[in-house]
């Protein structure tokens, strides 16, 4: 009896080990959540390599990697956090032209989003000038890339000082969207990837903020240097940068790296 039990216990304990060897662990910025699962499913079909993803704020993922989280690849929503990991000697971009600069795999697009049943006009730059706009949701500009872009865009429009008292600051773009979707804020500056998710696409309208109003939201990838699966990580990176996948990113609200 005991022997059988031990045999089963041993067998079970081996299963996760086998799985762990076969799959990559990817730390991905939360704005990729609507896009990445489908791409990774295709990657598994074509390469046989499975990837498990943890979606969180880029800042939180960077802090986790700094403290030894067992990821192989970090797909950030900006360049700052991957750069920080490179500077700390914890990550690299080996194999690309410059191994000390994160690999740009996509660019983000900032939109102004509001509910269809809003009492105000449809989203536009004019909406930002409307005194009837009482609450504008943004992601925290101290750490969320789209929050920084939102502040930059409002500064370019010379609206930052007048809008600032009306900000409600969310933890990330998803929460900023919740603030608006629940009817508590009149509009929000969020990512196009969020605005194109089925729920938000059904309940609201968006306006693409002109790209010359804010610095590009470049999304950088780095290889976590401790990884034991460097070859597999490179395969995934090449796949992400391939024209077919880049086209999918565009459809989901990101700008491909090739587009200017």
């Amino acid at each position: 009896m005991l022997k059988q039990f031990l045999a089963i216990a041993f067998g079970l304990s081996c299963v996760p080990v086998v799985l762990a060897q076969a799959s990559l662990r990817v730390a991905a910025a939360a704005d990729l959540e609507p896009v990445l699962p489908r791409i990774l499913a295709q990657f598994q079909q074509s390469s046989g390599i499975r990837a498990e993803v943890t979606y969180q704020a880029s800042a939180a993922l960077a802090a986790q990697i700094q403290n030894g989280a067992p990821f192989d690849l970090f797909l950030s929503a900006d360049m700052r956090y991957p750069k920080r990991l490179i500077d700390a000697g914890l990550a690299d971009a080996a194999g690309s032209a410059d191994s000390t600069t994160p690999i740009i795999y996509a660019k983000g697009t900032l939109v102004l989003w509001a509910r269809k049943d809003s009492r105000l006009a449809a989203p536009s730059v004019e909406l930002l000038r409307d005194p009837g706009l009482r609450r504008l949701a943004i992601a925290n500009p101290d750490r969320a890339p789209y929050g920084r872009a939102a502040v930059a865009a409002m500064t370019s429009l010379k609206l930052y000082d007048s809008l600032r008292p009306r900000f409600v600051t969310a933890e990330n773009i998803a929460q900023a969207a919740q603030f608006v979707d629940s009817g508590n804020a009149d509009a929000g500056l969020i990512s196009l990837t969020s605005a194109l998710t089925p729920h938000l696409e059904a309940s609201g309208r968006y306006f693409i903020i002109p790209r010359d109003l804010y610095p590009p939201i470049e999304q950088g990838a780095v290889i976590v240097s401790r990884t034991a699966q460097r070859a597999a990580v490179h395969k995934l990176l090449d796949f992400l940068l391939s024209p077919a996948v880049q086209a999918q990113l565009s459809r989901a609200g990101l700008t491909s790296v090739q587009e200017k």
Partner: protein, 223 residues
């Protein structure tokens, strides 16, 4: 730098919340202990529910409930002139709901510990429920009520998830110390985070020690 504005706001939120909690929890606990209806078990279960939900989820539900898309939210906004979310009043509502079990549980325990012969005697002497609660249960269970106040206060000081979801991080209105601390950690400003955390812990230790010293001193005098 320590954010003294957030410090003052946190104390204000915890004080207002504690006062409201006691006003609600004392009669509610009396009803739960003295009442005979079977439905009170359901009410008691309901008051414990905020313990089950993750605070951010509770905050999310409140955000939706108090938003302008529900009649509740529109009614409140019509009375106040602004939506309850992203305001100090909104945080008070969230905190009272979130901390209610922490105030009710100790008081129910305290009231239940009062000997039933004393309650029966008071009833025979003609005391109605308000008198029974105010002149008998409350004085006898005062340490439980104190414990409820302390727990409610500290739980509100440390409250994070509800404030994060419902607050919108507005300085002076909804940016509490726990939000400041979280922002500092997320921004890798660990030195400032250490100072804020030390302030929170120091404040709590002093408050708790003062209350427990008071309790011991009184306990000794009563004995």
């Amino acid at each position: 730098m320590i954010d003294w504005q957030a410090f003052a706001l946190t104390l204000k939120l915890a004080t207002v919340t504690t006062a409201i909690l006691l006003v609600i929890a004392v009669p509610l606990s009396a009803l739960l202990v003295l009442g005979k209806s079977r439905w009170l078990a359901l009410l008691e279960a309901l008051t414990a529910l905020p313990l089950v939900l993750p605070p951010t989820v509770l905050g999310f539900f409140l955000l939706v409930l108090l938003g302008l898309r529900t009649s509740v939210g529109r009614g409140i906004a019509a009375i106040l002139g602004h939506p309850l979310a992203f305001s100090f009043e909104g945080l008070v509502v969230g905190s009272v709901i979130y901390s209610l079990p922490f105030a009710v549980q100790p008081i129910v325990a305290g009231f239940s510990a009062v000997e039933s012969s004393l309650i029966d005697a008071a009833r025979l002497l003609g005391a109605g429920p308000p008198r029974l609660v105010w002149s008998l249960l409350v004085p006898l269970a005062r340490r439980s009520i104190l414990a409820a106040a302390v727990l409610g206060f500290l739980h509100t000081v440390g409250e994070f998830g509800v404030v994060l979801m419902l607050g919108g991080d507005i300085p002076g209105a909804t940016r509490t110390l726990s939000i400041v601390l979280y922002n500092q950690v997320e921004n890798f400003d660990y030195a400032a985070a250490n100072r804020t955390a030390a302030l929170l812990l120091g404040l709590s230790i002093i408050a708790l020690a003062a209350i427990y010293i008071g309790g011991r001193w009184r306990g000794a005098r009563d004995a």
